[in-house]
Symmetry: C2
Subunit: 128 residues, 2 copies
């Protein structure tokens, strides 16, 4: 529905999601700032901002001149996964309650949409 805020936050969220889903490994080479910016069609500075925050959060490591790598053990992967999962679900429940939807109606709709989404081609990885 919406674009969901600043691009650099979307990138951070996207990478965390990839790690939580196991698409991005815990000690894996990351695309360079320039390469990812070209791929996504945004400015290198925007990628740098996202990577910098990810480094502050201890999710990637960067050595000046060399490529950046993810830096998360399995415990951290599980922590990130639970954070995202819980966060998104809390947000949905809150929205449903604010709309004064009954538990039955909410879950029935979610079930319908879940099946609907299962019948769609859903492949949009950020590398091939």
């Amino acid at each position: 529905m919406e674009d969901r805020g600043p691009v650099y936050l979307q990138i951070i969220h996207y990478i965390k999601q990839g790690i939580a889903a196991g698409i991005i490994g815990g000690n894996e080479e990351m695309p360079s700032r320039r390469a990812l910016s070209a791929l996504l069609g945004v400015n290198p500075n925007t990628i740098q901002k996202a990577y910098h925050i990810l480094e502050e959060e201890g999710i990637i490591v960067s050595r000046s001149g060399a490529k950046s790598y993810t830096c998360v053990d399995s415990r951290t992967v599980e922590r990130i996964r639970r954070e995202l999962l819980s966060g998104e679900t809390h947000f949905w429940v809150k929205a449903m309650k604010q709309l004064k939807v009954s538990r039955e109606e909410a879950f029935a709709l979610a079930a319908v949409i879940w099946e609907e989404a299962s019948r769609e081609i859903s492949d949009c990885e950020f590398r091939h």
Copy 2:
């Protein structure tokens, strides 16, 4: 989790949500720009921007000098309700699928959080 973007969009969303939930009636007096800005601690111009867009969408009517009123029939209320409900649920399902969560795990977690939220005091109306 997040602040969810521009304030004027939050206000629009909040009012639509109130209408969809039946908290705000279909032909009801709206708080004045100045009153709502004071209540929310934001600039009157920000409220004006939100109200102006709501008027363009045919949700409220404003006559220069008089108070603004909501202007939605029951069919429109139902349309708005379905839009918000469907939009939020699509977003949640998409997030769950991107995290590669099984339907069972996702719905189980949602059930837990739903009950958890039911045990909390949840009253934050925008007027008393």
